[in-house]
């Protein structure tokens, strides 16, 4: 079974802090994704990586950066957290072929105070 593990289920941080969200997958997937999910707005793609050290911007990259130093690990970084970044963050992974399903972690609920 594919396992996508996100480092924290719940996280509370303060405005202006640098925040790291970690994601690890165990299926040797090439693609990894970071989404945020908000009521009424659905899942929105922040960043996508198709290989180590490679990344592409999604629909809402502003205020975020990512790091992929190893194939199994994809980190999302909030450079200077703001209250409008309070959200559920979901990581996903898939094989490189576009039709392959994405496998999701259970999310990190991040609150910025």
């Amino acid at each position: 079974d594919v396992k996508v593990t996100q480092s924290s289920r719940y996280l509370v941080k303060r405005t202006g802090e640098k925040v790291f969200l970690e994601c690890v997958q165990d299926m040797d997937h090439e693609n990894m994704f970071w989404y945020r999910q908000d009521p009424g707005l659905g899942l929105r793609l922040i960043y996508f990586s198709y290989d180590v050290k490679m990344k592409e911007k999604g629909d809402i990259p502003e205020g975020y950066s990512v790091s992929r130093e190893k194939k199994e690990r994809f980190s999302l970084i909030l450079e200077s957290a703001s209250t409008n970044q309070t959200s559920m963050y979901l990581c996903a992974s898939s094989f490189w072929q576009g039709h392959q399903p994405q496998h999701f972690g259970d999310g990190t609920r991040l609150s910025i105070l």
Binding site: G40, G42, R44, G98, H99, Q102, F104
Partner: protein, 112 residues
């Protein structure tokens, strides 16, 4: 840009009935449409995929249809059970790239 629209209102049905959920896309025909199930506090789980040249796909009690004229996919759960209660998401993928565009999801409640 592409928009994926799902009915944001919850769908309430009686156990044993067929649930039908709708996914509409606005502009470009997808290369693929994928359907996911999401339970509260959990990440989405992949259910089914339908390609642009397919009209129907089945998996056990699940059926997905695709109508390019209407720009619509329908997701059916036959003989529904309370355990089918969840939010169902549809996701569109175009001909280029590996990114999915998700709809907002429809919450299904199956009452015993």
């Amino acid at each position: 840009s592409q928009k994926i629209e799902q009915n944001s209102e919850a769908l309430n049905i009686q156990e044993g009935k067929t649930a039908t959920l709708t996914c509409n896309y606005t502009n470009y025909s997808p290369a693929y449409l994928q359907w996911y199930r999401q339970d509260p506090g959990r990440g989405p789980v992949f259910l089914l995929l339908i390609r642009e040249n397919e009209k129907e796909k089945r998996k056990e009690r699940l059926k997905v249809t695709f109508d390019t004229t209407l720009k619509q996919s329908l997701f059916h759960i036959t003989a529904s059970q309370p355990a089918d209660s969840a939010t169902y998401l549809c996701a569109w993928r175009g001909n280029a790239g590996n990114m999915l565009t998700f709809g907002g999801g429809t919450r299904l409640m199956v009452k015993p």
